[in-house]
């Protein structure tokens, strides 16, 4: 048996408030593609970051080619032969391929001038095994996403990487390009390079991986040979957690239609999206990374382009070209990233609440701080926002309280259609239950809620109806009470879809 390239033995890592990894062991052989799977928050990223030297483990050991190592920083991991390709590509778009492959390490002539000819020749040598005929002088911004990904891999290889970490490498690729990347991966295997492959997509893992290790809640569940495991088994192991959260009762009464979308599409992002949302109803959109759920929500509120299709609000056709317009039609939007897209962190609580309805807080063009404070106080009490007073700077509040501020700013407007991206992201369990109850209460008062969540239990517990998205299309619809994590995982990872197309 060949000696493993990389061994992770009994690694633990905790962050304030969470145990991210508990006694995890993992092994990578030369020429192997070893998939790492798990739900969001299962600990995959933390493990990747430990292997690439970003975090030091609290306990446990890492061995590279049999030798125990301490990786204090990505630079050191690189020197030990670990190459990392991140989800967000880290290339400089304005520079050429060659300059990106050899940043700071370009071959130089006497006096430090870059030896361009030599630089291009070496880059060409690195690129040639992958059969991409692109000149090394080409600017990265002119490359397709796939080509960029390959450049990123080549960059890691130029550092003599023998261990390559690929984090969701296909999430940004169009479907027909995935095979091209796999081709590259197969060539790397043939050269004896070991690859750790993180992906949510089960068909891909079944296709490219040799082994798979499943993580759940920071612990390793099992490692399997791909040949000896079924997709259902992997899913079971990924989601096999008890649902401990309590969810409010489902809708008693579903009323008239609030929002209807017909054949909505945006080139290369999503297509043929049709669904409706009714009064009193909560509709959840399930899907994995790259399913384009957030893009769809943004487009609905006029913050993203729409190429085709129609939107109706209460039966009337609506042309939405800007967020102001969407909000004027009774929509509200809570983005996923509350710090960058939702809140004004340096401003006081009351001004964060009034922002959506400045007109209501002004008389003859003058803002009434007193009215802002009074209205904000009612929300502080109603949503139990923990804050010393309404003048508190929002950046000082905890994640859960910040999320409640986001809700407050839209509750002020009494919007009928609430569009919410990850309603409880980064929120502790107590606040989570409060937010779920609040959403139910709002629908009981006649609002409709359309939300995206990466947590299947949340979608199943909260939604009356679930839409499943995969690669920009809606691939299924399940009533909330009939959904299981298994069924959502299957549809979300495109398993059933691809099987069907294969069967046709």
């Amino acid at each position: 048996m060949t000696a493993p390239l990389l061994e992770v033995i009994g690694v633990c890592k905790s962050f304030p408030g969470t145990q991210a990894l508990r006694d995890v062991s993992f092994e990578l052989l030369p020429g192997e593609v070893h998939a790492l799977m798990g739900e969001n928050g299962a600990g995959k990223s933390t493990l990747m970051h430990i292997i690439s030297g970003v975090y030091l483990p609290d306990a446990g050991e890492i061995r590279i080619e049999g030798r125990p190592v301490m990786l204090r920083g990505p630079r050191q991991a690189q020197d030990m032969g670990v190459g990392m390709v991140f989800q967000e590509l880290s290339l400089a778009p304005g520079l050429s391929i060659a300059e990106n492959v050899f940043p700071n390490r370009a071959p130089t002539r006497l006096g430090g001038a870059i030896a361009w000819g030599e630089l291009y020749r070496r880059t060409r040598d690195l690129l040639s095994p992958f059969e991409i005929n692109i000149a090394p002088q080409t600017l990265v911004r002119d490359l397709s996403v796939t080509a960029r990904q390959i450049v990123e891999i080549v960059k890691a290889l130029s550092l003599n990487a023998r261990i390559l970490l690929l984090d969701e490498p296909t999430s940004a690729l169009p479907p027909n390009e995935v095979e091209r990347l796999f081709d590259v991966i197969r060539r790397l295997k043939a050269r004896g390079i070991g690859i750790v492959y993180i992906s949510h997509r089960i068909p891909e893992v079944m296709n490219i991986a040799d082994r798979v290790t499943v993580l759940r809640d920071g612990q390793k569940v099992a490692t399997h040979d791909i040949a000896a495991v079924t997709p259902d088994r992997i899913i079971e192991e990924m989601v096999g957690r008890k649902i401990t959260d309590l969810y409010p009762e489902r809708a008693a009464e579903i009323g008239a239609e609030l929002l209807r979308v017909e054949g909505l599409g945006r080139e290369n992002v999503f297509s043929d999206i049709s669904f409706s949302l009714r009064r009193g109803e909560i509709v959840g959109i399930a899907g994995l990374m790259g399913a384009r759920r957030s893009d769809l929500l943004r487009a609905l509120v006029g913050a993203g382009r729409i190429d085709t299709g129609r939107i109706f609000i209460e039966g009337k056709p609506a042309r939405i070209t800007s967020p102001e317009q969407a909000f004027g039609l009774g929509m509200a939007y809570l983005p996923e990233e509350r710090k960058t897209d939702g809140l004004f962190l340096k401003m006081p609580l009351r001004q964060n609440v009034s922002v959506t309805s400045l007109r209501d807080f002004a008389r003859m063009g003058l803002m009434s701080a007193r009215k802002e404070a009074a209205v904000t106080r009612t929300f502080v009490n109603r949503l139990r926002i923990r804050t010393p007073d309404v003048e508190q700077i929002v950046g000082r509040l905890s994640g859960g309280n910040q999320q409640k501020v986001m809700f407050s700013k839209w509750l002020v407007r009494q919007s009928k259609i609430l569009i919410i991206d990850e309603p409880t992201k980064g929120v502790d369990v107590g606040a989570k239950v409060e937010i779920h109850t609040l959403l139910r209460e709002l629908t009981r008062q006649g609002a409709g809620v359309l939300f995206v969540s990466s947590e299947f239990p949340e979608i199943i517990g909260l939604a009356d109806r679930i839409l499943i998205m995969y690669e920009g299309r809606i691939v299924g619809e399940i009533p909330g009470e009939q959904a299981t994590e298994q069924s959502l995982m299957l549809l979300s990872s495109g398993y059933r879809v691809e099987n069907q197309t294969a069967g046709v």
Binding site: E324, D341, G342, M347, V355, T387, P388, G399, K409, D428
Partner: protein, 336 residues
């Protein structure tokens, strides 16, 4: 992870805040930039009053106020722009162009009540161009306004062939030369603009948007604020105020000077930043900017009285600017 890491700290800081509301309010008031700046200004005044009998005189203060009037008028617009995350280098050039334009118009026989508003409208149009380039064409404000700076200054030079336009009727110099109860009219106008500007930026619904846009542009847009429209209007307001400053200066000098106010944009920016405005947006007040400009004005007055070379004054302004910002960064770093 960031959330998790922050939660305990946030909980702690919540507890450590004083419980009585008036104490918190007092703390917030002392924490502003205006108060220490005001104290510093008073300190300089007290020291100088004892050192030089010519300092604390009506004549000296009047001269000082007249001197920084154009800067202070423009600062009202600039601080609104800075708060909203914008930036305008073209104000000095717009001032010069407006001064020469109004002189030309009046000399050509246009009624002053028409000529002055016309020049303000032209100023606002230049502001519109700035705003349009920044928001719709997406040019960096530094580059866009550097461009309009050169264009405006260039047009002023071409129009006058580099020579000041003089020979204006005496009535044109009334605002710049005459005074009411020992206070020059132009200083009164400046004070009115500063007071209205300060109250408006603090209290009006329209200008509240500046803080939202400057604090977090994405969030502002996703909260329903018409960000681009606001930005364009802020550039228009700033340029219109620069045009007004140009008219006031022309009236005082009784001439339209194409080379007037070279480098004034940097003084306006320095004053606003000393007064607490941030180049990254979201912070600043008109009062702060005004005090910043007063401070710079007093310091150069002091240096003149102490017979320091005029060439040193510019260097000292720069040193004060850096000291003020460095002080602020240090205080802030400790707070976080």
């Amino acid at each position: 992870m960031a959330d998790n890491a922050q939660t305990p700290a946030a909980a702690l800081s919540n507890k450590s805040v004083p419980t009585r509301p008036w104490m918190r309010r007092l703390k917030r008031f002392i924490g502003t930039r205006e108060l220490p700046l005001l104290a510093l200004i008073l300190l300089v005044v007290v020291i100088m009053a004892n050192r030089n009998p010519n300092f604390l005189t009506i004549a000296n203060f009047r001269a000082m106020a007249v001197g920084f009037t154009p800067t202070a008028v423009i600062a009202v617009g600039m601080v609104i722009l800075l708060v909203s995350g914008g930036f305008d280098l073209s104000v000095g050039a717009v001032l010069a162009l407006s001064g020469t334009l109004v002189a030309r118009f009046v000399l050509d026989g246009m009624e002053q009540v028409i000529a002055v508003p016309a020049v303000l409208v032209i100023g606002a149009c230049i502001g519109f161009v700035n705003g349009f380039l920044v928001t719709k064409v997406n040019i960096n404000p530094l580059v866009a306004t550097l461009g309009t700076l050169s264009i405006a200054r260039g047009i002023a030079q071409v129009m006058t062939e580099g020579i000041s336009i003089s020979g204006l009727p005496a009535s044109f110099g009334r605002v710049g030369g005459e005074q009411l109860a020992n206070i020059p009219y132009m200083v009164l106008i400046m004070l009115v603009i500063v007071v209205i500007g300060d109250l408006a930026l603090r209290h009006t619904r329209f200008l509240r948007q500046a803080y939202y846009v400057g604090s977090n542009e994405n969030a502002a847009r996703l909260s329903g604020i018409a960000v681009d429209r606001f930005r364009i209007l802020a550039y228009m307001l700033t340029a219109a105020l620069a045009a007004l400053a140009g008219v006031l200066l022309a009236s005082r000098l009784m001439a339209g000077t194409p080379t007037a106010a070279q480098g004034l944009e940097l003084q306006v920016l320095a004053g606003a930043v000393i007064g607490g405005a941030s180049l990254t947006g979201g912070e600043g007040t008109v009062l702060g900017a005004f005090l910043g400009i007063v401070f710079i004005g007093i310091i150069s007055n002091v240096m003149t009285m102490e017979a320091v070379s005029i060439f040193w004054q510019q260097a000292v302004t720069g040193a004060i600017l850096i000291a003020a910002v460095a002080f602020d960064m240090l205080v802030r770093r400790r707070r976080v």
